[in-house]
């Protein structure tokens, strides 16, 4: 496999043409979805201009195909002596060069379409100020694998050269451990069984699914209503408003239905997303793979790991599983999607993973804990109160009756309860190597960071906090900032002094 000559500029796999075409087409359709609404404004549109519309559409699709074909032809990549080269662009040409040593991760992934066309997507991640990420949409699987191997080999050779220079000067660098362990074979660390996956689905936040469903229902409702009012001249809203008292049972059935289907959707999406989750240990790194339709392959690099997140909730506790989210160094605030999620982990596996990432035991970590002060409640409470006020105004204007009153009052109680939980859970713990930031309301989230991976530390105090002696402590890391709210100002200051002292007195680098 390794005798492929990578130095000749190459095109993507032939099926790439179709992949690019279909993805572009889907993108276009998504961008212009609102055109679907036009027939509702203009009657007889199809009868009057039908042929023109169809011809226009066909023309557009053909144009899109030509464009996709050109962008396929212009997309060329190769490996030259010192770097990965990529040329692309139909109208605006661009040339990207990535030196081997700047390559951080190489990810292979397959979505449904790629699976169907039997190609894989190839992603090169880099760390640095500019986001020079490279995405190749379609490669043959074998070719992609050998390209990946080749790049990794080149990178390792670079790193070794560098290490030999460093060798004479310092001995305590963590990178130096690598060569001794290099011969280790990739080994399976953890595999998620279907049973546990189901448990993960059941214990996931079901409001995500409910939200998805509600958004869909709202869209469908609008669509249907527009349709009906156009054709039958019927006012659904008036009709609905008049029948509220008698449809109360209907509403409660509807709510239960939504929650039930939402729950089902949540379980389904979780199962699809994390289907057959596998972690393999490959030298110092961990390869995480998951997904049924869209198979995702991500690499956790030991040195690049910044934030180690452990999440539990009451149901997860019942099932004795936890979720882990690993954030790696990036040039922007990491979104939830960019975090590498490992779900359904038992305590044993958690300890194992933690130990292999940080070389210490999780259970041995004892923290000095500093809690957020009770006054934090008011911050959350006022934020929620704004929502309540807006809802009340809306209820007053549209559905002013006892149902909406009771609903809003219940919502207020729930908000108060959640705020209290949030304040109770918010705290920061420190010991000589780790910071443990706890947060969450029903869920409990522990975010663990090694102290030497901090970039800077801030104390922020708004005008009220300045008077009542509180401060927010903000920790900046290479994968986003963490905020610990409402600490006592003297304690926050002490923690800041300590953390800064630790960062300055260590010779460990953040990456």
């Amino acid at each position: 496999m390794s005798n492929i000559d990578f130095s000749i500029p190459r095109l993507q796999s032939f099926n790439g043409i179709f992949l690019i075409f279909f993805t572009d087409l889907i993108k276009r359709v998504r961008q212009n979805i609102f055109i679907l609404a036009i027939p509702f404004f203009k009657k007889n549109l199809l009868q009057d201009y039908g042929t023109y519309i169809i011809i226009g559409l066909i023309l557009l699709v053909v144009l899109q195909f030509v464009f996709s074909y050109l962008s396929y032809r212009k997309f060329k990549f190769s490996i030259q002596e010192d770097a990965f080269h990529l040329d692309q662009g139909v109208i605006k040409l661009s040339h990207v060069e990535i030196p081997f040593e700047r390559i951080q991760n190489i990810n292979l992934q397959q979505n449904l379409l790629q699976r169907f066309l039997n190609v894989v997507g190839f992603e090169i991640e880099t760390a640095g100020e500019g986001t020079a990420e490279i995405k190749i949409k379609a490669l043959d699987k074998d070719f992609a694998q050998s390209l990946k191997d080749k790049l990794i080999k080149e990178k390792e050779r670079r790193d070794e050269d560098e290490l030999q220079i460093l060798d004479d000067e310092s001995a305590s660098d963590s990178k130096l451990d690598e060569p001794s362990e290099r011969n280790e074979e990739p080994s399976l660390l953890f595999k998620l069984s279907f049973n546990t996956l189901l448990k993960v689905g059941i214990s996931s936040n079901l409001f995500k699914g409910v939200g998805l469903l509600l958004a869909f229902l709202a869209y469908a409702y609008n669509f249907v209503r527009d349709f009906l009012t156009q054709i039958y001249d019927l006012n659904l809203e008036e009709d609905f408003k008049n029948r509220i008292p008698e449809t109360l049972t209907f509403i409660s059935i509807l709510i239960f239905g939504v929650i039930f289907i939402g729950f089902f959707i949540t379980v389904m999406t979780t199962v699809l997303k994390y289907y057959n989750l596998k972690i393999t240990k490959n030298q110092e790194n961990f390869e995480v793979e998951y997904g049924l339709f869209k198979r995702i392959n991500k690499v956790i690099k030991k040195v690049k790991t910044q934030i180690f997140e452990i999440r539990t909730n009451p149901i997860k506790k019942l099932f004795k599983i936890k979720s882990i989210y690993v954030s790696q160094a990036a040039s922007n605030q990491l979104s939830e999607k960019q975090k590498i999620g490992i779900v359904g982990v038992s305590k044993l596996n958690l300890d194992l993973l933690f130990r292999s990432l940080f070389n210490v035991d999780l259970s041995e970590q004892v923290y000095s804990v500093c809690k957020s002060q009770a006054r934090l409640f008011f911050r959350y409470f006022y934020q929620r109160l704004a929502i309540i006020v807006i809802l009340s105004l809306m209820a007053y204007a549209f559905y002013f009756n006892w149902v909406s009153g009771v609903g809003i009052f219940l919502l207020l109680l729930i908000f108060i309860f959640l705020s209290i939980l949030k304040v109770k859970k918010s705290s920061i713990g420190i010991n000589s190597t780790f910071i443990n930031v706890r947060s969450g309301s029903i869920e409990t989230i522990h975010k663990l960071i090694e102290i030497h991976k901090l970039q800077s530390v801030k104390l922020s105090r708004n005008i009220f906090q300045q008077y009542n002696g509180h401060a927010d402590l903000i920790l900046e890391t290479a994968s986003g900032s963490l905020n610990v709210e409402y600490l006592k100002v003297e304690e926050a200051r002490k923690i800041l002094n300590y953390l800064i002292y630790k960062v300055e007195s260590t010779n460990k680098d953040w990456i």
């Binding site: 040039s331 922007n332 000095s368 900046e476 960062v503």
Partner: protein, 171 residues
């Protein structure tokens, strides 16, 4: 709260509050006012024009003007009260910067976490002969530090100081 299991005594650590801080150039406040003034002149112009515009009901520009005046008052307090709080200080291993009246923020960045340093000058600040120092750390831009309103000498001195520290540790 106890700090017993830490290997150093937390009260004996150097306190960042004990550092003597320097203020930025006084003329920088004029620059802020000019910047702010230009924005507010534009913002105020709109509702005032609307007064003489028939179809707009009279209460809309009045409400807008009231809100704008309130915002202006807040901004004015922020600038006047906040300006004396804009202070920076350097220690052996880190740089400290504080600013803000309504949101008072104190930032400490160790030199060995600074990726690169930049001295910048906008068109208006060229007129005032002022410079701003930008310290970039890894990760999101929320971790970067910008110190505005420095004269050339101070900016360059700070840059040299920071760079000297970062390179020594890099080697």
């Amino acid at each position: 709260m106890n700090f017993e299991n830490l290997e150093v005594h937390i009260d004996q650590l150097p306190d960042f509050k004990s550092v003597e801080l320097n203020s930025v150039q006084k003329r920088y406040k004029k620059l802020i006012w000019i910047n702010e003034g230009l924005v507010f002149i534009l913002l105020f112009a709109l509702p005032i024009v609307a007064f003489f515009f028939e179809p707009v009901p009279i209460w809309i520009p009045i409400v807008v003007l009231a809100i704008l005046s309130f915002v202006l008052a807040l901004r004015a307090t922020e600038i006047e009260k906040g300006f004396p709080l804009r202070l920076f200080g350097i220690r052996q291993y880190d740089i400290i910067y504080q600013s803000g009246f309504f949101y008072f923020t104190e930032t400490v960045i160790p030199y060995n976490r600074i990726q690169h340093v930049e001295i910048k000058q906008g068109p208006l600040s060229r007129f005032f002969n002022l410079y701003s120092l930008r310290l970039y750390t890894a990760g999101a831009s929320s971790g970067d530090l910008i110190i505005d309103g420095l004269d050339k000498e101070t900016a360059q001195k700070l840059k040299a100081k920071v760079l000297a520290k970062t390179t020594i540790i890099d080697e």
